[in-house]
Point group: C2
Chain length 349, copies 2
C-alpha cells in the first residue's frame, strides 16, 4: 500500500448498505432514518439506530452531495487573515455555521479581484453551496459565475447602495466622516490620510471619501501631498507616516487618519521613533477599534465597527437562504466613534 492510497477508505468502512443489512432493513430506510426519521416506524428506528452506532457509521458526504446537490459547505472568501479583523468576522461566521450543521471553507485572495474569481470557481468545483465575500467591489465575472451556478452569496462590510447584491455591513463613508468631524471639532485644519490601495477595495475608497466629504463640508480640502497608500502592514504604515513627518512644517498634518487601526498604530510607531508627541504634536485616529489600537499608549481613537455582528448575520443569511427560511437581504449595521487619548486639539501655532 503506497502513501498515495493510504487515505483510501479502509476496506471495512461501513456504508448504508452495511447498516441496512445489520438492521435487517433496506438502504432506503436507513436513509430515511437519517434524514426524516418521522417517516420511520419507532421500532424500525431503534433497529437502525443500533446498527449505526455499532458500525460507527458516518454517511459519505460526497455521495450525499452528489445525490442531493447540497454539500452543506459555505465558502468564506476574504482578502487576508493577516489583518486580525477578518479572522474575527470569520470566527463569528464559523460559530453560526457550525451550530446550523454547515462547515466553512476558507480562502484568501490577498486583495486581488482576479484571484478571487479563480478561488471562487475552485470552491464551486468543490461543491460549496453558498458564499460570503468581503466588500462590494468585485470582478463582474464573479457575479456571472455565481449566477450561472445558482449559488447564493452575501457581500459584507458594506451595503450595496444599488441594492443589487445582498449585503450586510455599515456605512464606511459615514464612519470616517464622523471621525473627521471629531477632529475638525478639536480644531484641526491640516489632515493626513493613510490608506490601503483603493483599487477594488470599496472599504478603503469609501473611508477616504468620507474624510474628504467632511473636510469639504468644513470648507477644507485634503492636500493630496498628505495622502499615502500602502499595504495593511505595520512596517509599511510606519514608513508612510515617516514620509508625512518629513513634509515641510507648513504642510505637515496635525491630524492623521488611518483607514484602519493597523495604519494608525504604524503611524504611532513612526511618531515614537521620530520623537513626535501624540496627541500634543499630532493626533492619530484609526478605524475598526481593534485590541491593537486600544492597548496603545496613548490609546487609539477609533471607530468600533460591527466585526462580529457582520460575521454572524452573514452566516445566518446564507443559511436561511439555503434552507428556504425568511431573511433580510440587506442589513445596515451601526458603528460608534470611540474617543481616546490619541486625539486632542492641535498644537498652538
Amino acid at each position: 500500500m503506497t502513501r498515495a492510497t493510504a487515505i483510501a477508505d479502509k476496506p471495512g468502512r461501513p456504508s448504508a448498505k452495511d447498516v441496512a443489512r445489520l438492521a435487517g432493513v433496506s438502504t432506503a430506510t436507513v436513509s430515511r432514518f437519517l434524514n426524516s426519521p418521522a417517516q420511520v416506524d419507532a421500532e424500525t428506528q431503534a433497529l437502525v439506530r443500533d446498527a449505526v452506532l455499532k458500525l460507527r457509521y458516518v454517511p459519505h458526504g460526497a455521495a450525499r452531495a452528489l445525490r442531493s446537490a447540497r454539500s452543506h459547505m459555505v465558502g468564506a472568501v476574504v482578502p487576508s487573515f493577516d489583518y486580525a479583523l477578518y479572522a474575527r468576522t470569520t470566527s463569528a461566521m464559523q460559530a453560526v455555521l457550525d451550530a446550523r450543521g454547515y462547515s466553512m471553507v476558507l480562502a484568501e485572495h490577498h486583495y486581488e479581484l482576479a484571484s478571487e474569481v479563480r478561488i471562487t470557481e475552485q470552491l464551486i468545483r468543490r461543491g460549496v453551496d453558498a458564499f460570503v465575500f468581503v466588500g462590494l467591489d468585485h470582478d463582474p465575472a464573479l457575479f456571472a459565475l455565481l449566477e450561472s451556478y445558482g449559488r447564493p452569496y452575501v457581500l459584507t462590510w458594506g451595503v450595496d447602495p444599488m441594492r443589487r447584491h445582498p449585503s450586510i455591513g455599515f456605512d464606511n463613508r459615514a464612519a470616517t466622516f464622523e471621525m473627521t468631524r471629531h477632529l475638525l471639532g478639536l480644531g484641526h485644519q491640516r489632515f493626513g490620510l493613510l490608506s490601503a490601495p483603493t483599487a477594488g477595495n470599496d472599504r478603503a475608497t469609501e473611508r477616504g471619501a468620507g474624510m474628504r466629504a467632511a473636510l469639504a463640508q468644513a470648507g477644507l480640502a485634503l492636500d493630496e501631498r498628505c495622502v499615502r497608500h500602502g499595504p495593511i502592514d505595520l512596517g509599511a504604515a510606519t514608513a508612510m507616516m515617516k514620509s508625512l513627518l518629513a513634509l515641510p512644517k507648513a504642510l505637515r498634518p496635525t491630524a492623521v487618519i488611518g483607514t484602519n487601526d493597523v495604519f494608525a498604530v504604524g503611524a504611532m510607531l513612526a511618531c515614537r521613533a521620530e520623537g513626535v508627541r501624540i496627541p500634543e504634536d499630532v493626533s492619530i485616529a484609526g478605524c475598526d477599534n481593534t485590541d491593537l489600537g486600544a492597548t496603545q499608549t496613548p490609546a487609539l481613537t477609533s471607530i468600533r465597527t460591527p466585526i462580529v455582528e457582520i460575521g454572524r448575520a452573514a452566516a445566518e443569511q446564507v443559511v436561511a437562504r439555503l434552507e428556504g427560511e425568511p431573511h433580510l437581504a440587506f442589513q445596515l449595521l451601526g458603528f460608534e466613534l470611540v474617543s481616546r487619548g490619541s486625539t486632542a486639539a492641535p498644537p498652538r501655532r
Copy 2:
C-alpha cells in the same frame, strides 16, 4: 421555484456529457483531458478545451470525490481564531494548500477536546482528506476516528516526544525556560505566571513547566499564589494581573510571564491602570511575539515562535502525504527570545 430549490444547479449547468457532445468526443476523453492530458491527442485536447471554455464547465466535485475517494480538501481544526496567532498560521497553511490545488475547511473547537472530535467527524463526513490539528493533547477518540477512516493528519505547535503522531512545532517548554533564565539573569527572584487553563492544552502546560524548571534549576520555586489561569482574553488577563498586584508586597512578583502575548499585554494594562511602572516596578514578558506586544510602550519582551513556518510546513506535509511524496513526519523548529523594554532588573529593595 422556492428559495430552498434556488441553489439547485441551474437546469443548464454543463456536465462532462455536454462538453463531450460539443467536442464530439466521449465523457471519458473529457475526464482524461482534465486529469491526465498527456494521454490525450493534441488535436482532441484543443477540441475539448474549446468546449470547456465555451460552456464555462466546472467539474462536479462531489461526483469526482465519490468516484475517486479524494475531495482535495484539508481540514484545519484550531482552538480559536480570536487569538490572532492561529489565524496567521492558518493563513500560511491556506496559501500553500491553494498553490497545490487543495482547499481548506476551517473549524474551531474553542479549547474543548470533546467538541474537537465531533467537529472532526463532521469534516470526515464532508469528505475532508486530511487534517491539521493544533497541539499534542487530544481525545484518544480523535485518533481512533482518524485511524478508522484512514485520514492522514499532523499535529502542530509542538513535537510529539513519543513520536507517535506526526507533528511540527517547537519546544514550548524550552521557550519559557529561556525566558525565565533571561529574567533570572536580570536578578528577579519572585515570579508570577499568567496562563491559559492547562487541561487539554499542552502548549500552556509545557510553557508553565519550562518556567518552573528554570526556577528549580536556580533553586527557586514558583509560588502558586502567584499563578493565575484564565481565558486568552485581554480583559481576563488584566483582571488576573490586578489580582497579582493586590498581593501583599512581600509576595508580589517582580517578574510576570504570560504564556502568550495576550496575557502579557493584559498585564501591562493592569499595571497602567494601577500606576505600576514597567519595567521599574515589574517586568513583564510574553510569548509568540505578536504585533500586539511589540507595539506596546514599553515594547514587550517575548519569544518569536515560528507561527508562519508551522502553517507552511503542516500544509506541505499533509499534501505530500496525500500525493505520496516524501516528507518529514516530525519537524522541530526554532524560536528566539526577543528582549525589549518591558523587562529589566527588579526594583532595589
